[in-house]
């Protein structure tokens, strides 16, 4: 299928290393944030979310950090694996609305 993100910023990491993907959001009223993973030819897949009353949330091998002061969100992936190679998008949801506003993505490449 058509590749997602041919012109996106790329993060290249060695298999087994940790990855950090960053995202800046614009709306200070946003109160819910989500990270999605998108593989080529597929729809976005939910990874982890965080609400604005938290600054950190951990999942399996993933951690999301939220800094509301500077409107910054990051996704940390521990022990990155080849299957983690994909495009990653952050999304925000403002004022408990239903629209997701997606940021520009980052392509993660995992070197074997």
């Amino acid at each position: 299928g058509e590749s997602v993100g041919l012109h996106l910023p790329t993060l290249s990491v060695q298999e087994g290393d940790n990855s950090i993907i960053n995202c800046a959001y614009s709306n200070s009223a946003s109160d819910y944030f989500i990270w999605y993973k998108q593989e080529s030819g597929k729809g976005p897949q939910f990874i982890i979310d965080i609400r604005s009353n938290m600054d950190k949330r951990q999942g399996q091998r993933v951690t999301v950090l939220l800094n509301k002061t500077v409107k910054h969100l990051s996704l940390q992936i521990a022990a990155t694996q080849p299957g983690d190679s994909a495009v990653y998008f952050c999304a925000e949801n403002a004022d408990s609305s239903y629209k997701l506003i997606f940021g520009s993505g980052t392509r993660l490449l995992v070197r074997p």
């Binding site: 819910y32 976005p44 629209k99």
Partner: protein, 114 residues
């Protein structure tokens, strides 16, 4: 269980033609969303249904675009007089509710207007 499904997976049409894109949401999900994704960009919101009604269609780019969900389940996105700029991947998502519920995405329909 089955996820969100979309048909067709690919659609090639000539400029000026009419197309319909179908979305089957996850059973039991009352909310359904359409997004459009251009190459190298994140998905952009088009329209949101809660049940049968379009609760927000503010993302539809113009009146050539229309979507329906007559029975509160399957939805169809309709594009009239297609233009080359309509070429994109059209994504459908569904969720249990509206705000702050995880949205599950389908694989998308890649529309190419020649």
């Amino acid at each position: 269980g089955a996820g969100v499904s979309q048909t067709p997976s690919n659609k090639v049409t000539e400029k000026g033609k009419y197309v319909e894109l179908r979305c089957d949401p996850i059973s039991g999900h009352t909310a359904l969303y359409w997004y459009r994704q251009s190459l190298g960009q994140g998905p952009e919101f088009l329209i949101y249904f809660q049940g049968t009604g379009a609760a927000d269609d503010s993302g539809l780019p113009n009146d050539r675009f229309f979507a329906v969900r007559p029975e509160g389940s399957v939805s169809t996105l309709k594009i009239q007089r297609t233009e080359r700029g309509d070429s994109a991947v059209y994504l459908c998502a569904s969720s249990f509710g509206g705000a702050s519920y995880e949205q599950y995405f389908g694989p998308g329909t890649r529309l190419t207007v020649t």
